[in-house]
């Protein structure tokens, strides 16, 4: 009796460690995205460099978390809700790690952009950054609070991001048409915009996993009501 209670407490602790680890990884990626947007706006090369360096830790956390999940699966054979949580956690970890990589991508572009004069004041890009950051934040919050509504709300946000991406695309095309000198910088900015759009997709993926975790329903690949179809002409 004493033994089983001890084991179950140990098990609870391991689960909690995974949950906390996941949130820690989330906080790290969120922070690095925030820093990337800041580096972009302030043309701050050193911050961008820090982000690139910090990704190593995110990668390490990702591996560590996944190993923990697999060990728990192998040793404890969790069932029902816990099993759903562990499998979800593995997937969410993957999403977060990918977001981390993409942020590094943005940071690299920022360093390159800093070698050129600023093409235009950024208005939509920071908005995109803020929204995608909020999407990550909300999906993680939804996980903590087991809040399906909040998670579904994240899915709806994705439409806004897509629209902004489209808008930036159109704007940059006019810049490029006006002066071919702008093409290089415009392409980099476009890549950043596209990366942000993909980060939002990953955040949506996390939210979908949260919905699955709570309800057991897989809503991935199902159209969001009211969302426009993605523009196929976009890069």
């Amino acid at each position: 009796m004493e033994e089983t209670r001890h084991t179950s407490r140990e098990y609870e602790r391991e689960l909690q460690e995974i949950r906390d680890g996941l949130l820690y990884l989330g906080a790290k990626t969120e922070k690095s995205l925030e820093m990337a947007i800041k580096a972009l706006l302030e043309r701050d090369t050193s911050t961008a460099g820090e982000i690139i360096k910090g990704d190593e830790q995110i990668d390490r956390l990702d591996i560590e978390l996944e190993e923990r999940c697999i060990r728990l699966l192998a040793l404890r054979q969790p069932a029902a809700r816990d099993l759903r949580f562990i499998t979800t956690a593995i997937k969410i970890t993957g999403h977060l790690e990918r977001i981390g990589d993409m942020v590094v991508n943005i940071a690299e572009k920022v360093i390159i952009l800093n070698d050129f004069p600023q093409l235009k004041p950024y208005v939509d890009l920071p908005r995109m950054g803020e929204i995608s950051r909020a999407m990550i934040r909300n999906s993680l919050d939804a996980m903590v609070r087991q809040d399906v509504e909040l998670a579904r709300g994240v899915r709806a946000e994705d439409a806004v991001i897509d629209n902004l991406n489209e808008q930036i695309f159109r704007e940059l095309v006019t810049f490029m048409l006006a002066d071919p000198v702008n093409i290089k910088v415009s392409l980099y900015i476009m890549q950043i915009s596209k990366t942000l759009e993909r980060i939002a997709d990953h955040a949506e993926g996390i939210a979908d996993m949260v919905v699955y975790m709570v309800t057991g329903k897989i809503i991935r690949h199902k159209p969001v009501p009211g969302k426009k179809h993605e523009n196929p002409s976009l890069p």
Binding site: Q16, R19, L23, Y24, A27, E30, P121, V123, R137
Partner: protein, 588 residues
């Protein structure tokens, strides 16, 4: 199961009484029987003795009479054992009685007795035999017999009487006991009810002490105990309440984590800081409540090193605040459980002030150094021979003069600012016309505006009240604001000047431009010294970075307000609210 003490008492009393009665009555009955038997014997021996003195013939004759008088069956037996007479049966048919134990005993000892079943009468009988004649020659025996049932009947009758009396006595005793104990039990019940109420937490009232015995003493003790307890609880409550008040009223956020790193308690400030109600946060880990990697790292460090750590951490998404977090490990009550105390101190304001101060120093030095560098550079060039070239020298001297003027302007602005702040130069308030003041200010700044081809629109309704202001200071305010508007509006833009009453006491002047606008986050910082939204560009425009700061302070000194609204890409509107001049107001 709960049995009433009173009922148990009654049952045991009753049982003990019945047992006592049963045992005594049984004992008495057997004793009575014994005594009666002895009496029988004595009576019958005496009667036998008397009868024996009579002659045999007389006895035979008067057998019936004698038997009746002695209440016994009389048998007359001769020496050979033949029955001469018997009052109860036909003696001729009876066998020899010489071998009967009572006869034998009488023959040998002069007196005999026996207790046995009589085959003649079919009854348990007591026999007494007395010999007839002298001791030497016995001529016969007189035997008297009485049925033993007589004794039994008598003993039973007496026994029943005894039991009846005893029962009556026991009943009286019981009634007395019940009467006496009912008072005791009701007192005990009252005590129980009272203690029950106290246990449930109702301390109101106390026991009424009527008795002067042990129960009364107990009641007094209970009353005192309850009072002492109440006092103690109240003191504990007060202490806890005080602590809670301190805990809740503290500005610092406080959070206590248990050994599993879960939140055990937190105060109101902490609730506000993490914007979660207490109920939602308790039992969660800190990562679940406040997802902050830095905090997690700090907590981990504190756990591993076992030391108190203190660090600055930025918390919050929409409104980030700088927190000084102190984490200290605490040993719990049991000495085993390790708890962690986190104290969050909001130092956002402190940090901002610190930032303003460092910015100010950096700005002042920077603002001074730029013109100085130019002055020194050009002077050196002149010394190194540029003086020879008159045309270039003239241009250089112009630059030197320009920079020196800028320096002097800076020093002047700084002095104005500190004078306003210190309140060294009192304002000479008088009734001034806003329109007139604007016209004058436009005369000064209008040159620049027309150079940039700016359109200046005035929308000032007639008949506006006079405002209460210092003439020179008002000019300074207006020139500063108009200068800013002109500087930041691109060529071909428009500046709109409007004035309208704001309530009864104020006149509002708003100056709107079509410049690049100011990000919303920067607006509150505009009044800071040397604060520039776009550091690289605005300095080229020749400002000292002190203009708005001066305006802000002057407006404050006038009892007015400055309000800035801006939309990026659309322009900025500066609104100045001046107090309206009242005739009764005394001019200082």
């Amino acid at each position: 199961m709960k049995t009433r003490l009173s009922r148990r008492f009654l049952v045991w009393f009753l049982l003990a009484g019945v047992m006592a009665i049963a045992f005594t009555s049984l004992f008495l009955r057997s004793e009575l029987k014994k005594v009666l038997l002895v009496r029988f014997e004595e009576e019958m021996t005496a009667a036998g003795g008397i009868i024996a003195t009579m002659p045999v013939a007389a006895i035979r004759e008067k057998a019936e009479q004698l038997s009746r008088l002695s209440h016994a069956r009389l048998t007359l037996i001769d020496a050979a054992g033949n029955i001469l007479a018997d009052t109860m049966s036909v003696h001729q048919e009876m066998e020899s009685h010489l071998n009967r134990s009572e006869i034998q005993e009488a023959r040998l000892r002069g007196k005999g007795k026996a207790l046995r079943y009589s085959s003649t009468l079919k009854e348990e009988m007591f026999y007494v035999a007395v010999p007839l004649g002298t001791a030497a020659g016995k001529t016969g025996y007189v035997r008297l017999a009485r049925p033993v049932t007589e004794i039994a009947l008598f003993a039973d009758e007496k026994g029943r009487m005894f039991i009846g009396i005893m029962l009556a006595i026991v009943a009286i005793y019981l009634l007395t006991a019940v009467y006496l104990s009912s008072g005791l039990f009701s007192s005990l019940r009252r005590l129980t009810l009272f203690t029950d109420r106290v246990r449930a937490g109702d301390f109101s009232g106390s026991l009424l002490v009527k008795r002067r015995d042990e129960i009364g003493e107990l009641a007094v003790n209970i009353n005192e105990m309850v009072n002492a307890l109440q006092e103690k609880i109240k003191r504990g409550d007060d202490a806890r309440h005080k602590l809670e008040l301190v805990f809740a009223g503290m500005d610092e956020g406080i959070m206590l984590l248990d050994a599993e790193n879960r939140i055990e308690s937190l105060n109101c400030s902490m609730e506000a800081m993490i914007s979660r109600p207490q109920g939602e946060a308790i039992g969660k880990t800190i990562m679940e409540v406040c997802r902050n990697a830095g905090l997690h790292d700090l907590l981990k460090h504190s756990r591993e090193s076992g030391e108190s750590v203190c660090e600055e951490i930025i918390i919050g998404d929409e409104h980030p605040v700088v927190m000084e977090v102190t984490i200290s490990a605490m040993s719990g009550e049991t000495g085993e459980e390790r708890k962690t105390l986190l104290v969050f101190h909001d130092i956002t304001r402190l940090k901002r002030l610190e930032g303003i101060r460092t910015d100010f120093v950096a700005n002042v030095t920077h603002e001074i150094r730029t013109p100085l560098t130019a002055i020194i550079g050009f002077t050196e060039t002149l010394q190194q021979g540029a003086l020879e070239n008159r045309e270039r020298a003239g241009r250089f001297l112009d630059t030197i003069r320009e920079n020196a003027e800028r320096l002097s302007r800076l020093v002047e602005d700084l002095m104005t600012l500190s004078a306003i702040e210190l309140g060294d130069s009192p304002l000479l308030l008088e009734g001034l016309s806003m329109e007139e003041a604007i016209e004058k200010a436009l005369l000064v700044t209008g040159g620049c505006a027309s150079k940039k081809n700016l359109l200046i629109c005035k929308d000032i309704s007639a008949g506006l009240p006079l405002i209460s202001a210092d003439r020179d200071r008002l000019a300074q305010i207006l020139i500063n604001i108009l200068d800013n508007a002109i500087k930041f509006t691109p060529a071909g833009g428009m500046i709109t000047i409007a004035a309208a009453p704001e309530g009864d006491d104020f006149l509002r002047l708003s100056i709107a431009d079509t410049g690049p606008g100011i990000p919303e986050a920067e607006i509150p910082r505009l009044g800071e010294r040397f604060y520039r939204v776009d550091r690289t560009r605005s300095r080229d425009l020749g400002g000292t970075g002190l203009g708005l700061s001066i305006v802000k302070h002057l407006m404050k000194a006038h009892g007015g307000r400055m309000n800035i609204q801006s939309a990026i890409g659309k322009g900025t509107t500066v609104s100045l609210s001046f107090p309206v001049f009242r005739k009764t107001e005394k001019c200082a």
